[in-house]
Symmetry: C2
Subunit: 230 residues, 2 copies
């Protein structure tokens, strides 16, 4: 039987291309995550995306945990914005805003990496830039690291809160969840809570919250620089 004209790399029905690879697996994971969300992400769904059995993945990936690590790193690729280096405050704001945007844009990214981020090849430049920015502020090395950690925590946990809020809101719109959690009786016995209940239930302004957190961080750094440490 003669060989077909079209090369082996362009099959009509999907067929296994040569071998699997770590990169291919991670990209398939990203695809599943973007399309179906974190709850639908598992070894079997990623394998299906690649027309393969789940067990096959274990030749390239040690565990589900490692896949999550790789995936998170992958999602954060090329996330560093251009910075002019004139003012560390402006640079820090730009950096934090860019990273926050990425975390929120990539569906469920914050659910993959709950706090413990392991440094991969795409996270490293991110860290490097953040540290560089803070270094130009004039902080000493040990203070610098504390501030850096605080900044990462701020961005990550606030983005996480925002993402989970948005997901919940979307769910409520689509499916039909309970509209507002029915006010329990006993909240009336807490005066301040009661007085602010309405405001607390209102949709949060995450931009404002983010801005406040960042400005507070900057204020904290400036205090340190001025030597007003209590």
């Amino acid at each position: 039987m003669a060989l077909p004209f079209r090369p082996a790399t362009g099959p009509a029905t999907r067929k296994r291309r040569q071998f699997l690879s770590r990169e291919e697996i991670v990209e398939a994971g990203a695809k599943v995550l973007a399309r179906d969300g974190y709850d639908a992400l598992n070894m079997r769904s990623v394998a299906t995306e690649l027309d393969v059995q789940a067990a096959a993945l274990y030749r390239y990936v040690d565990s589900r945990e490692e896949l999550d690590d790789l995936l998170f790193d992958h999602l954060m690729a090329d996330c560093v914005p251009g910075l002019d280096g004139a003012d560390w405050r402006a640079d820090l704001r730009a950096f934090a805003a860019a990273w926050r945007l990425r975390l929120i844009t990539m569906r469920d990214a914050t659910r993959i990496a709950l706090g413990q981020v392991s440094i991969g090849p795409n996270i490293a430049p991110l860290m490097d830039v953040a540290l560089s920015i803070l270094r130009t502020s004039g902080l000493k090395d040990d203070e610098l690291i504390e501030v850096y950690q605080a900044c990462m925590l701020l961005v990550h946990s606030l983005a996480s809160a925002e993402a989970s809020y948005l997901e919940l809101a979307a769910q409520k719109d689509a499916g039909g969840l309970r509209h507002a959690p029915p006010q329990p009786e006993w909240v009336a016995s807490y005066p301040t809570l009661w007085a602010l209940a309405e405001r607390l239930a209102a949709p949060p302004d995450f931009d404002a919250r983010f801005a406040f957190g960042l400005e507070a961080l900057i204020a904290g750094v400036e205090r340190r620089l001025a030597g007003e440490t209590p």
Copy 2:
């Protein structure tokens, strides 16, 4: 056959007492969590703790998710310290320190409530006190809530980071995990990261980090009060 002398409430072998209850289930959950950790907490282990089948729990609890909510609220009971009300800064520090301590003391508490804390009868007084403290600072109601949310986020996410670090360290001591994650080659190409690598790998000072975060928050509030909002 004559009835035994000892009353029915004091059996030699453990026997089901009357009926189950929500409270009993939550306490059993707390027991499992304290003894075996979050990874060992599931419907079956809680049921076993009560000499009962897992399915029996569903008469009192809607889902695993609800159990987690109830459990977290239970763990945070009576966590509000005495406050003198003289200075809102001092009160805020005392409040935050007490809550942080509780979060860390209760094994895996932060893993139960990942960010989204639903207000239960034990969380409510906590919220009420925090809001009351901030109210005495002179902030307007809407600003107050932003600061409150920032404070909750700070305490919770920092405690979460600390707890997961401690757990990892304990694991490393006991079992024998990889000592230090072997420095990847490519970090050398990021100068600032490289320069600070040693410091970044050093055991973090969570007390200092917490203090910095809280002081920054206070600095942010004071700026707001002074009307220096950018």
